[in-house]
């Protein structure tokens, strides 16, 4: 109690000390930034998960080739999860003498758990959105099926042994995806009718999909329980797995947020280190005095540790409080794309890194010099002694570096980020050493006299001890600004590349060979720029170097490409957005070679020279892997795992596929297209594209807002740290004025001095930023590095200007008040 009272008493008085305010401000900034970003990233994650419902027809899917165990359903129900079932299989449809293979989805009554099924009553009728599947005895069929089977809505169709009435035309179901491309026409039916058809026999190829929806904790609890029980054929699918394009967008944004957060923390840590050392130096006399009062070392230690602890508490509490409105503002910016109303639930888990930041920041950066205070000899009150060394370079720097690495690692959970930032810091340190050395040389040669330049340089020499730490802090800020700016720019560019305004939003699938010229003509006539038309042959990979794939690839069940037919194509040239990773492209005339996509090749362990065998229909085809290529999966163009040279697949039945951008105003064309080409499937992914556009747009806004926030915080910290020499400068200014220095000279030399500091710091900062960005681009954002010459010019100038303004502001009281008053009032 007494101790608390004392701490409170001292704490209130400490508040008058600039160093204490700077330290607290720095902790506040660090905690608020980490907490805001933590909360925002958490919400982003959850929003994406929630938005998954619109892409997956539920929050999660469990896919397998066998039915899910009965009791799992009970468990999921106990947890409060909602469930819907679906069985997917291929079957022949009969109508009179016509027959057609179709891809059938039989859905339970709860389907879809999220999103809507779009249907039409007639091929050209208006669309209706329904929150359920077909009733028993009814079929909803792909528009393509009508001409193929020569039927109309209302007619009967036979599936296996059961007869159904075609009740509507299926336009789109919420879980329709690109992986369904090229499948036979789709049919939706009721799950209860499946038994009657007798289609599913032991050994038939059937996919079982179980849909689950519920709250996050419910879902993750179920998943935790499920994880160890999953059969090899079963996969738990969230938005990440189901919609890589969306999740990659978010991932990038998250990385950027973490980078920003890490940099802000770094900044705050340096401020804390500088301020706490100033504090410790200022406390030297106080500690000696306390010793004359009879305080033991242990008590002195307790007093200061108590203060550190109270700063931690105040900094954390204040930072968290500050984070809430900031998070709210950020989330407001990003809110529009979250259509599922999100509860403003505060996830405490997202906050603990912030608290850890405060503790680590204060105890790793501020503790060492403060702990050494108790060694101050009491005799110091009677005579100024050399004093104690408050800084132990080796232990302090080691501790600081360790803490920094640990914090960023904990926070960003990304070693490359840590490495890149440390690399940038190392570059900065190196430059600072060089600058320090150069300055020492330069300043030692400055002679006497009164020119502006000379006064500025003399000023720098007078403050040379504070100078380097100021250049360091400003340099670090400039590094932060530079890095964030560069990464942000490349982030926005990559998003733009990924989704240009005219990204293809319609896929045409199943184009018969003889329809290709007509489709081309249709697109040309309507000024629709289509990507290349690719032929597509469906085949299954069966052997690698003569051995069955399932023997060669240990986790064959995990490799999705092996569990389904692959879309094989042929191409003459490497598409512009593909890159050759290994091997070489084929020469014209060669037909027995094949090119494999990089990630698939990695999973299968394929390299150029390996021989692969495909089964296409009933025939086998063997070819040698000639090249491995990377594919831009984010482009909304048709992409293929496996490509052959022209002619290799000439003997197999092929259909063509393409994608194009359809402006919203021209959407009516779709109906005309459907009428003209009834057998071609139009896969409309406009809603998906729009969604990603939305997400990118909103996240971009949030990222920009965050950038501004971090920069403002950084500026605050810089000004705070710069204030370290404020009293000294003001006293000097006053002194110079009493000695008769002209105002103008004083102003000009001070401006020059600060501008020089700023320019040096800007230069060091931009160099360090390039270093960090080089590492970041290389590993984290997978872009290519280039020099940013503009920044080399802009940043030093900006930094010089900024510093000049700060310097001018510091000088203000010196110029306006009488020197006498100043000498008296300044400490």
């Amino acid at each position: 109690m007494k101790f608390l009272h004392l701490l409170l008493w001292l704490g209130r008085r400490d508040w008058a000390l600039r160093e204490v305010r700077v330290t607290l401000l720095a902790v506040l900034v660090a905690v608020a930034t980490v907490a805001t970003i933590g909360l925002f990233a958490d919400q982003l994650q959850r929003s994406v998960m929630a938005s998954g419902s619109q892409f997956l027809a539920a929050d999660r899917q469990l896919r397998g080739s066998q039915p899910m165990a009965e009791d799992w359903l009970k468990d999921s129900a106990t947890l409060g999860l909602r469930h819907a079932a679906m069985v997917r299989f291929s079957s022949m449809l009969f109508a009179d003498q016509h027959l057609q293979l179709a891809s059938v989805k039989a859905v339970g009554s709860a389907y879809p758990l999220a999103g809507q099924v779009t249907v039409r009553d007639t091929p050209s009728g208006p669309v209706r959105r329904l929150a359920h599947g077909p009733a028993p005895g009814k079929l909803w069929v792909d528009a393509r099926l009508l001409p193929l089977l020569h039927i109309n809505v209302g007619d009967s169709v036979q599936v296996g042994q059961a007869s159904f009435k075609v009740a509507a035309i299926l336009v789109q179901e919420p879980d329709a995806g690109l992986s369904m491309l090229g499948l036979a026409p789709r049919v939706l039916m009721n799950l209860d009718d499946v038994a009657a058809t007798g289609v599913i026999q032991p050994g038939s190829r059937v996919a079982y999909v179980d849909f689950f929806s519920g709250s996050d904790p419910q879902l993750s609890r179920f998943h935790d329980w499920l994880k160890t029980r999953l059969r090899p054929d079963q996969r738990w699918i969230g938005v990440k797995e189901g919609r890589p394009a969306v999740s990659r967008t978010i991932d990038r944004a998250e990385r950027f947020l973490m980078l920003g957060g890490s940099l802000a923390v770094l900044m705050a840590l340096v401020a804390i280190a500088v301020a706490s050392r100033q504090y410790a130096i200022r406390q030297l006399d106080t500690v000696a005095l306390l010793k004359t009062f009879g305080l033991t070392q242990a008590r002195i230690n307790r007093l200061y540790l108590g203060r550190l602890a109270s700063w931690t508490l105040i900094g954390t509490g204040g930072g968290l409080l500050l984070a809430l409105p900031l998070w709210f503002a950020l989330a407001q910016l990003a809110k529009r794309w979250i259509t599922t109303p999100l509860a403003w639930s505060l996830n405490p888990v997202a906050l603990w890194p912030a608290a850890v930041t405060a503790v680590v920041a204060l105890f790793a950066f501020a503790l060492p010099p403060i702990v050494r205070l108790r060694k101050v000899p009491a005799m110091r009150v009677l005579r100024s002694l050399p004093g104690v060394d408050l800084v132990g370079i080796v232990p302090d720097v080691t501790l600081a570096l360790l803490a920094m690495v640990a914090l960023i690692a904990l926070y960003a959970r990304n070693l490359w980020l840590v490495a890149a930032l440390l690399g940038g810091l190392a570059a900065l340190l190196l430059l600072l050493v060089l600058i320090g050395w150069g300055l020492a040389n330069l300043l030692s040669r400055v002679g006497q006299g009164g020119g502006t330049w000379r006064l500025a340089l003399i000023g720098m020499r007078r403050h040379r001890r504070a100078l380097l730490s100021q250049v360091a802090v400003v340099g670090l800020t400039m590094m932060l600004v530079g890095t964030l700016y560069l990464v942000r720019t490349s982030l926005l560019q990559s998003w733009q590349r990924q989704l240009p305004a005219e990204a293809p939003n319609e896929f045409l699938v199943n184009i018969a060979p003889d329809a290709v010229p007509q489709v081309r003509r249709f697109l040309d006539q309507n000024n629709l720029s289509a990507s290349h038309l690719y032929p597509m042959v469906r085949g299954r990979l069966t052997e690698i170097n003569g051995k069955p794939v399932r023997q060669v690839v240990s986790d064959a069940n995990e490799v999705e490409a092996l569990n389904r037919e692959l879309n094989l194509t042929w191409m003459e040239k490497l598409p512009a957005d593909n890159k050759l990773v290994e091997g070489r492209w084929w020469r014209t005339g060669i037909t027995d070679e094949v090119s494999v996509e990089q990630r698939l090749a990695e999973k299968l362990g394929l390299h150029p020279g390996d021989r692969v065998t495909f089964v296409i229909g009933a025939q086998q085809l063997t070819a040698t892997v000639a090249s491995i290529r990377s594919v831009d999966w984010e482009s909304m163009r048709p992409n293929f795992y496996v490509a052959f040279p022209p002619g290799a697949l000439a003997d197999y039945p092929a259909t063509w596929i393409t994608s194009f951008y359809l402006p919203h105003a021209q959407r009516l064309l779709l109906d005309r297209f459907n009428r003209e080409f009834p057998t071609i499937t139009v896969l409309d992914i406009a809603h998906l594209i729009n969604r990603i556009h939305d997400i990118v747009g909103q996240i971009t806004q949030a990222v920009e807002a965050l950038l501004v926030m971090i920069l403002a915080a950084a500026l605050l910290v810089v000004i705070a740290v710069l204030g370290a020499t404020l009293p000294e400068r003001q006293r000097e200014g006053a002194l110079l004025r009493t000695l008769g220095a002209r105002r103008a000279t004083l102003v000009r030399s001070t401006l020059l001095e600060f501008a020089l500091i700023g320019a040096m710091a800007g230069l060091a900062g931009v160099a360090a930023a390039e270093g960090a960005v080089w590492l970041l681009q290389y590993r984290l954002f997978s872009g290519t590095f280039e020099w940013h010459l503009g920044l080399w010019l802009v940043l030093p100038v900006l930094s010089a200007l900024l510093m000049a303004v700060v310097g001018r502001l510091q000088l203000k009281p010196v110029l306006t008040v009488s020197p006498m008053l100043l000498l008296r009032q300044l400490e």
């Binding site: 004392l6 400490d14 006399d285 010793k291 009491a378 005799m379 009150v381």
Partner: protein, 238 residues
């Protein structure tokens, strides 16, 4: 005077014998004090005078237990300082000792009142503020309570420092050139104040000074000369 001061066997509150202090500066051993003996009785006021550099401040630091001598012993209020650890010496100081410095040593961030309050708060005194207020009134600064040191003149600052020194009710007060930074008249006021408190509180005074006026007001004067205490102290009767 009263039994409060009779706890040392021979009536001496402070006793130093054969004090020698040496420091090593760049491989040379510098002897600052050599064979200093002295005895100060409770209630006395003793002035240590001498040329600059003769070792007065060093001696004061050793007597107060702020530093330890190379050789010799110091006994303060019955405890042999030279045998105690730094913390034990600190505890002893907290009970018996007060200080006044040439450069005042007020904390610039605290007001006059808070500066006086500080030692009281540190020892957990419940009436810290009230007592600090009384002390400041007593040194004539009752109307300057909320002023910070830099808003006070040197003499006022020293009065705050004296109030602070007396806040802990010390049995012995050490002062190193308490008037050194003050003009003669202000110095005289400070001397007057110290003497009054010495009389009224019965506090023993040990002060180092160049100020002959101040020295003359003390009951005894000791002269330091090149690290030795003058064999025959110059007695100037007051």
């Amino acid at each position: 005077m009263n039994e409060r001061y009779s706890d040392t066997p021979d009536g001496a509150l402070l006793q130093a014998s054969e004090l020698t202090h040496q420091v090593v500066v760049e491989q040379h051993t510098l002897t600052i004090l050599q064979g200093v003996n002295l005895e100060i009785k409770a209630g006395e006021s003793v002035a240590i005078v001498g040329r600059s550099g003769s070792g007065k401040t060093t001696l004061l630091g050793l007597l107060a237990g702020l530093d330890v001598p190379s050789e010799g012993t110091v006994i303060l209020a019955g405890s042999e300082l030279t045998r105690l650890s730094e913390d034990e010496r600190a505890t002893l100081r907290s009970r018996y000792v007060g200080f006044v410095f040439q450069s005042f040593q007020l904390l610039p961030a605290l007001t006059a009142l808070e500066n006086v309050q500080l030692p009281l708060e540190l020892r957990g005194d419940k009436d810290a503020e009230k007592r600090a207020r009384q002390l400041l009134e007593r040194v004539g600064l009752g109307d300057r309570l909320s002023h910070r040191p830099r808003q006070l003149s040197g003499g006022e600052q020293q009065r705050v420092a004296i109030a602070r020194a007396f806040a802990s009710d010390p049995r012995i007060l050490f002062a190193d050139e308490p008037t050194g930074n003050l003009d003669t008249e202000t110095g005289a006021e400070i001397v007057e104040l110290l003497m009054t408190l010495n009389r009224e509180e019965g506090t023993t005074l040990v002060l180092v000074t160049h100020d002959t006026q101040l020295a003359a007001r003390c009951s005894r004067q000791l002269r330091m000369e090149a690290g030795r205490l003058g064999a025959v102290p110059v007695e100037v009767s007051a």
